[in-house]
């Protein structure tokens, strides 16, 4: 049997004519197109979101962090920093930990990141995120987030106090039985450290913005009771944070006594949730295509009934059951392919005009569909991944083609003599 004959007949049967079956075919086509379009748009937005979130994570977390296994701090970070420099990455020492911040009578727990301003590049993300004041970290100075400033009610130039956990710990002793009692009354009086707010930042990542105070590393070491010049970690900044497996392995091999973690390992749970969310979205939305494929099944069942005599005739002329089956499966393939192509074009248009559409819908329904204060994004992000588009297309065409199998099989099983008598 000639494949071209099957293709020719399938195409002629598919080509729309002005009858009820054509209308159903067009509805099936629209169903496939809408399904593919929605899948493409949602996955592109999910990917865009994930990328935005990853970009925020990269800007707020070290690409790779090196910590000491044995102690809470690295006494001499300089040799490690020099070693990282040789590997072609930028490394800075940091001392981090939780403190209690106080402004007037307001107290809130905060996370201090003490950094060495001399080691930092000019383009570090916090200096670029200053919204008030300046990025200055001399001894006794701090840069704080706008969330904290709003919560505690201070501004640039205000004095805030940070309660050191090391000093607080020194105020109490615990004996072998776990009994807590006051430490030696002869100790010096404990006083919190005072810092002048020089700048207020907004990096656009809520967790970071709500918790972090930036100070000089020497002040941070003093707060936590670590030796001057030490660091709790070394933060490594790479040229390509999405491709750090090589440098990660090298650092692990060169510094075997240290705990080395990438930003992806630090945020694994969160990134896994994002990936699962995207997969779930695909799984749920693929049902739209499945419904469209079942409408193809319905359409083709109608076509088979309507064309029973023609199928009988084709068999009388010598067409085999397999030929008849292929003709109808090809029709499912045509609907799937054309519907998918139209859906991809529609999806591309929607993704291109997504922000305009969003504004239009916000205006029409008078609600903010994409609140800026929640997502910290002025525009709806989207990123079309060719792999996703190919996967959607293959899924759609395969489902639609499979949807044609049942009516095609039914057509192939027709008895030609009975089919020719069919009224």
């Amino acid at each position: 049997m000639n494949f071209l004959t099957e293709l020719f007949l399938a195409w002629r049967y598919f080509k729309p004519k002005r009858n009820a079956v054509s209308v159903i075919t067009v509805i099936s086509l629209i169903g496939v197109s809408v399904g593919v379009c929605v899948l493409m748009v949602v996955l592109a937005i999910m990917t865009g979101f994930t990328n935005e979130i990853k970009t925020k994570l990269i800007s707020t977390y070290p690409h790779i962090q090196i910590q000491n296994y044995a102690k809470p701090y690295i006494k001499d970070p300089e040799p490690i920093i020099e070693g990282i420099d040789i590997m072609g990455a930028n490394a800075i020492s940091r001392t981090e930990g939780y403190v209690l911040s106080q402004f007037g009578n307001n107290i809130s727990p905060q996370y201090v990141i003490g950094i060495n301003p001399e080691q930092e590049s000019d383009s570090n993300f916090i200096s670029k995120s200053i919204i008030s004041g300046k990025y200055s970290l001399n001894n006794g100075e701090a840069v704080v987030s706008y969330v904290m400033a709003n919560q505690l009610g201070f501004s640039v130039g205000s004095k805030i106090m940070l309660h050191s956990p090391a000093k607080l710990k020194a105020m109490v002793n615990i004996d072998k039985d776990g009994k807590v009692y006051r430490s030696n009354r002869n100790d010096n009086l404990y006083l919190p450290s005072e810092f002048t707010v020089t700048g207020i930042f907004n990096v656009g990542e809520y967790k970071f913005d709500s918790k972090v105070i930036i100070t000089n590393i020497d002040d941070a070491n003093a707060l936590f009771g670590y030796p001057l010049g030490s660091a709790t970690m070394i933060a490594v900044e790479t040229k390509d944070p999405f491709n750090i497996s090589e440098i990660y392995k090298t650092i692990k091999n060169v510094f075997p006594g240290y705990q080395v973690m990438t930003w992806m390992q630090m945020n694994k749970q969160f990134l896994d949730v994002l990936a699962v969310e995207k997969n779930m979205m695909f799984f749920v939305l693929v049902f739209i295509v499945l419904v469209a494929a079942s409408s193809i099944t319905n359409t083709l069942i109608t076509v088979v009934v309507q064309k029973t005599r023609e199928i009988g005739l084709l068999m009388a002329l010598g067409a085999r059951g397999l030929t008849i089956m292929k003709i109808f499966v090809m029709q499912g393939f045509f609907v799937g392919s054309i519907g998918t192509a139209v859906g991809l074009v529609l999806g591309t248009v929607v993704i291109y005009w997504r922000n305009e559409l969003l504004h239009f819908m916000s205006d029409v329904f008078n609600i903010e569909i994409f609140p800026r204060q929640f997502y910290y994004l002025s525009q709806l992000p989207a990123m079309v991944v060719p792999g996703d588009v190919i996967f959607i297309s293959i899924c759609s065409v395969v489902l639609c083609t499979l949807g044609a199998l049942i009516p095609a099989y039914r057509a192939a099983r027709l008895d030609p003599a009975k089919a020719l008598r069919y009224e």
Binding site: L313, L317, G318, L420
Partner: protein, 225 residues
């Protein structure tokens, strides 16, 4: 005479809901090469059933049908298909043209089903359509043709693969007498000049008179041969 088809003791019963309707009951007939046989009989006597059995469109419940000495009831479906494509041309009372195709494509269809696709098939189809007087109608759809023109298209389609046997089921049944005469002229030409074997089902004794032999089916058997 050279025997083309031999039908021995053929039975065929149809099941209609819960009842069984015996149509052919031990029918015997031989059909010879190049003869024009007309099958006559009342409605429901089994004329079309016999035609379908000869055309390998259905199987008998019992009995044997041989074509050129080959038992067509015991060959594969594929072989029966091949036999239909290469050796048998069908002409139906209701024409059965595909409305999606123009008449040239309709005529080419059996050639295409036998893997003859392209210029050769087109030329042959055009030649046949010219011979049946449809030179000006090649690109027309069946719906744009009269009944007579549609039946002439169906005849051209039946002949595209040069079959040695033409099965015609009341080919003039849906036509007025004048148009019917035109169709019968084509059958005469087929029989006399192109030496085809024709088996024609008809109700019309005048049409039957044109044939070499008339077989009347009654009570599921050939009554008068």
């Amino acid at each position: 005479m050279n025997k083309l088809i031999s039908i021995k003791n053929v039975y065929r019963t149809y099941k209609l809901e819960k009842s069984f309707i015996p149509v052919l009951r031990g029918l015997d007939i031989d059909i010879y090469r190049n003869e024009w046989l007309c099958l006559l009989g009342a409605s429901g006597s089994g004329k079309t059933t016999l035609l379908n059995l000869i055309g390998c469109l259905e199987y008998p419940d019992q009995g044997a049908i041989t074509y050129n000495g080959v038992d067509v009831c015991n060959i594969s479906k594929k072989a029966r298909n091949e036999l239909r494509i290469k050796n048998i041309g069908f002409i139906f009372q209701a024409y059965h043209l595909l409305p999606e195709l123009n008449i040239l494509e309709n005529v080419k269809l059996p050639a295409m089903l036998s893997s003859c696709f392209g210029k050769k098939a087109t030329e042959k189809a055009e030649d046949l359509l010219v011979k049946v007087g449809l030179k000006e109608r090649l690109r027309h759809r069946p719906a744009e043709l009269s009944g007579g023109e549609q039946q002439r298209t169906a005849i051209a389609r039946a002949l595209i693969n040069d079959p040695e046997l033409v099965l015609a089921d009341e080919p003039t049944g849906n036509l007025d007498s004048k148009t019917g005469e035109g169709i019968l002229e084509i059958f005469k030409e087929l029989h006399n000049n192109r030496a085809r074997t024709i088996i024609m089902v008809t109700h019309n004794p005048e049409v039957a008179k044109l044939s070499d032999r008339i077989a009347v089916i009654k009570d599921g058997k050939i009554e008068n041969n």
